[in-house]
Amino acid sequence: MSNALPLAAPARPRRRGPLAAFLRHPGAVIGLVILALVVAAALLAPVLYPTSPWRMVQRPFVPPFTLERVPLGTDALGRDIAAGLMHGAGVSLIVGLVSTLAALLIGVPLGALAGYLGGRVDDALMRFTELFQTVPSFALAIVLVAILQPSLSSMILAIALVSWPPVTRLVRGEVLSLRSREYVQAAIVTGQTTFTILRREVLPNTLSPIVVLASLMVATAILLESSLSFLGLGDPNRMSWGFMVGAGRTVIRQAWWITAFPGLVILLTVLALNLIGEGLNDALNPRLSRER
């Protein structure tokens, strides 16, 4: 066996880079553009509308596209709708991102522990997760925010507390299947430490489904945030899209635009995040998205 075999042509054509795959997805690019606009709105709000979005700037019920100073019209109290939308962007993004990060902080360790340790620990952790998954999440979020008193942080806490179970289940499943994979067994056999195995062999291979799930969770968190604000559970000091829809609800017959615009903005933002999530899924988990 002295003859070195020539390296055969790759068994499969080499995958194109994930970034290229992501950018080939038209929906993902649209999503990215919308999200960039929302981020820009959040950053520019204090510059373009330095005064409080709660301030009355015009007479009430100015229809949209009639006055240049208030392009999207005013609400029942004469507040500028455009200013409200721009200031609301920040709240939605902060709540969406921070609560998702918090949910990952709860969900990933619990899932990794349950999957890697197995046995009784797994049993106990999964029962606990199941409990949180059974509880009607929106109702629990309402109760939590109501009891902790409405504020940005109580909202983030409540959303994180109701959205971690899917993370735990995903991470557990991935770790469970990776743990029995032969290359992980090979790492055990070659005497690598448990920590090294988790860090080097297991976690990098669970990363892409977590990233995909996280992007979808931000979208869900923004929907939850706007629903809570709609019910009047938002931070009373911050303008938010959900609150604007809720405030316009009673006058919907006279002034459709007060509810229509903020709702449309929520829709677009959530849609953008979902599109990005799908693009990421296609780019990072090519096996799962063959049917596209």
Partner: protein, 322 residues
């Protein structure tokens, strides 16, 4: 099968117990005296009532006996008293529960059947215009805020077109009875049920489509083709039936979201169910009522889960019947 149902019910009771315990700690999470929290803002002035609460829930005793007292009262179906509404919480919820069951039940049936129908259509025509349209709409509905689409539906169908009523359970003071009343309620039900079901329909469309495409790659589909079966039979009998299993699982998992979503729908449409009751409790800071609704809606989810589990077991022979 009976053993299985018994086992699932037992498990459900354990979960419910855990939720009640969670509830107990939630009350203590609220700032201030638990008795005052339970009484809500309205009861704040009523010293005698507060004292009565304190005694009933052993609030001056250590935590474990407090928990015991709380569990005992819940086990007796006593969810406490709403000072605001001057009625026991259990009675209030009992009055409102049928409306919510009707709403969530219809939304569930409509979203599941429409979702599966459209999803399988999209899968069968994968890559065509029909598929693109259906998946595009599903993506859109999946991102639409529930409360907002309800309001927009009111503008379109009630205000502009005047086709459907925008609020309430039935026409107040019309005095309908029998079939006429049923039709009137159904008329009122259309908008709330459809808007509540829209998001879930999107979920089921996506799941059915991807599940069917997944199943259509499996070996037994090739076997079916090799028999000379027609495409329709292959799709229905072999692909769809297998593809529905994960959809049923998902439907069970979504039950919680559906019941939670009812709060928004009932609020917008003034539908007299427990979701609307929750909103009222929220406005009045009536914590006892709020938590009561929370426990009951959790129980509802458990029932939904039980039903989907039984359905799953009935359609999948691989799960052994104990």
């Amino acid at each position: 099968m009976l053993g299985f149902v018994a086992r699932r019910i037992a498990k459900g009771i354990v979960v419910l117990l855990a939720i009640v315990v969670l509830n107990f700690f939630l009350i203590r999470l609220a700032p201030g005296d638990p008795a005052l929290v339970m009484a809500g803002e309205a009861g704040a002035g009523d010293e005698a009532f507060i004292a009565q609460l304190r005694e009933k829930f052993a609030l001056d005793q250590p935590l474990p006996s407090q928990l015991g007292a709380y569990l005992r009262s819940i086990a007796g179906l006593d969810l406490g008293y709403s000072v605001r509404q001057q009625m026991p919480v259990a009675t209030l919820i009992g009055e409102r529960l049928p409306a919510t069951l009707l709403l969530t039940g219809s939304a569930f049936v409509v979203s599941l059947s429409l979702g599966v129908l459209l999803g399988s259509l999209a899968a069968r025509r994968a890559g065509t215009l029909a598929d693109t349209t259906i998946t595009g709409l599903a993506l859109l509905f999946y991102a639409t805020p529930l409360f907002w689409v309800s309001l927009m539906a009111i503008i379109l169908f009630s205000v502009r077109l005047e086709w459907l009523p925008s609020f309430g359970f039935e026409t107040v003071g019309a005095g309908y009875t029998g079939l006429a009343r049923a039709l009137d309620i159904a008329h009122h039900l259309v908008l709330p049920a459809l808007t509540l079901g829209l998001f879930f329909m999107a979920v089921y469309v996506r799941m059915t489509r991807s599940s069917m495409l997944e199943v259509s790659r499996l070996d037994f589909v090739k076997t079916a083709r090799a028999k000379g079966l027609t495409e329709g039979v292959i799709q229905r009998r072999h692909i769809l039936r297998n593809a529905l299993l994960p959809v049923v699982t998902l439907a069970g998992l979504q039950a919680g979201t559906l019941v939670g979503g009812a709060v928004l729908t009932e609020t917008v449409f003034a539908w007299p169910g427990i979701g609307r009751l929750m909103y009222e409790a929220l406005l009045q800071r009536d914590y006892n009522l709020l938590l009561g609704v929370f426990v009951v809606s959790s129980a509802m989810v458990l029932v939904f889960n039980l039903v989907t589990d039984v359905v799953y077991r009935a359609v999948d022979p691989r799960i052994e019947v104990a």
